[in-house]
Amino acid sequence: MKKFNLIKTVVVLFAVVAFSSCEEDGAIQFIVVDEFTTSVNIKGLAAESSFTENSSTNIGDLLDGAATFVEADIESVTLELQDDFSGTSINGNMNITVGSIVLFDQDVTLTKGGSLVIQVPANASNILSVISANAVPVSVTGTSTSGVLGDDDFTIDVLFKIRATVE
């Protein structure tokens, strides 16, 4: 019985010191940077010169073991015209909107197999307010300035590089 009490005393001593060792200075935060791809599949618009596609990108992987987003910014957007496009390139205007935030709206040239990286200005990068259920709504609008699209089924990959602070 005495031995048991001694052990209990040691355990309590451990507890006092170790629990004091466990104080955290608020929630621990992590910055996480990762890339998320949304494939925009444009179908049946060969005779048109513009398209609009709406989708949603799940960015929940950024949380990993964390619970909430504290900050979230899209640092860059990469556009890739995939090999399924029958032509070689598309010239025109691209507008990419996340929620109500216009990431960019500018003239671009997409070349099959190539990548076009667009840096998102700091004043348009904050997407924290549009994250819902760990996903963001994405709208991609393209308008060709070189005539009709000329392809009934092709894909543009839109790759978002997101920098988030989570806790």
């Binding site: 040691v10 451990f14 004091s20 935060q29 990993d64």
Partner: protein
């Protein structure tokens, strides 16, 4: 109580190890994980190794024949500021690099006893064999210094001393194996303290005590990290320590002043056991095995108060990780 002991043993085995997302570290492969964790947790086994060597004595005077003492000992090894960070050299890693690094860059990252502040934790880029990568802030420290003003590695022991022949004390530390679903723990230590003054002509008449102490500890612990879902995942932490010390003390009524000089050393193994699966569905079995050794000259000074057999003491040891030890116990003869 069961929950408390579980948390306590996990923490004492490897303070706050639970906050490490091992699967994430393993994304960089076992080699990288091993290299990273070696630096990250280094202060914990080092502090524990030096700390658990504290409290072996509270006087240089040995017991009379069959005199004895029982004491509960608590130690706190102060983590020096130099151990709050470790150097991350990109050249030492295959799949983990500094975000924006050059391949030969280096940076100071927090250890387990380092900062939690985001600004003190650079981004690390983890890459897999397919060329995919993700960047994340490096692991935080436990945040002790920000929370309570200092960093310390705790340890505790129960010790019994028994007077034998020729002014020699046998000291035994013993905690039988404690088993629960969440942890296993046991400790054993043995020491011999021998009065030196009796062998030195003239010195033996001087009004203070001088003795020598050799002592050895063996502490074994295992904390199960996820009992319900991954019962084979465990953190094993075993430490052996050795101490040699020359002691002197002077009794003044109920007060005894004591001190000593000598050496302290430890040999610790930290093993991560079980099967871990990364996001790339790569399984690693018993992925981490680390060994830490260290030795240091040590000098300490302290005092004890003895009133009707009750003995209270406190001392401070100067060594690689300076240590505060306090004891409370009972002493007879």
């Amino acid at each position: 109580m069961k929950k408390i002991t579980t948390i306590v043993f996990v923490l004492c085995s490897m303070v706050s190890f639970a906050q490490i997302d091992l699967e994430s570290i393993l994304e960089g492969g076992v080699g990288d994980a091993q290299t990273f964790l070696r630096g990250y947790i280094q202060p914990a086994p080092t502090g524990f190794g030096y700390g658990v060597n504290g409290g072996w004595y509270t006087t240089a005077k040995t017991h009379k024949f069959l005199g004895f003492d029982i004491a509960v000992i608590a130690n706190a090894s102060m983590v020096p500021s130099s151990s709050e960070t470790f150097t991350f050299n990109e050249a030492d890693y295959t799949n983990i690099q500094l975000d924006g690094g050059t391949g030969t860059s280096s940076a100071e990252l927090p250890t387990l006893f380092g900062s939690q502040k985001l600004a003190d934790r650079p981004l690390l880029e983890f890459s897999d064999s397919d060329g995919n990568s993700i960047s994340s802030s490096t692991l935080p420290g436990a945040g002790l210094e920000q929370a309570i003003g200092f960093n310390a590695v705790p340890s505790a022991m129960v010790q019994i001393g028994l007077g034998l022949w020729k002014n020699t004390d046998l000291k035994v530390r013993f905690i039988p194996k404690q088993s629960a679903p969440e942890y296993e723990f046991s400790a054993f230590g043995i020491g011999i303290q021998h009065d030196l003054k009796q062998w030195i002509p003239f010195v033996k008449r001087l009004p203070f005590d001088v003795s020598a102490l050799v002592a050895w500890n063996d502490v074994k612990s295992k904390a199960f990290l996820d009992v319900e879902n991954e019962p084979n995942q465990a953190l094993e932490f075993n430490t052996k320590t050795f101490l040699f010390q020359i002691l002197a003390s002077k009794k003044l009524s109920i007060l005894t002043l004591y001190g000593g000089i000598g050496t302290s050393s430890f040999n610790s193994d930290v093993n991560v056991l079980g099967t871990y699966t990364t996001s790339q569905d790569v399984d690693y079995i018993d992925p981490i095995s680390l060994n830490y050794t260290g030795s240091s000259l040590r000098a300490n000074a302290g005092f004890s108060l003895k009133v009707i057999g009750i003995n209270l003491s406190a001392d401070y040891t100067v060594q690689e990780f300076n240590t505060v030890s306090v004891t409370a116990g009972f002493s007879f003869r």
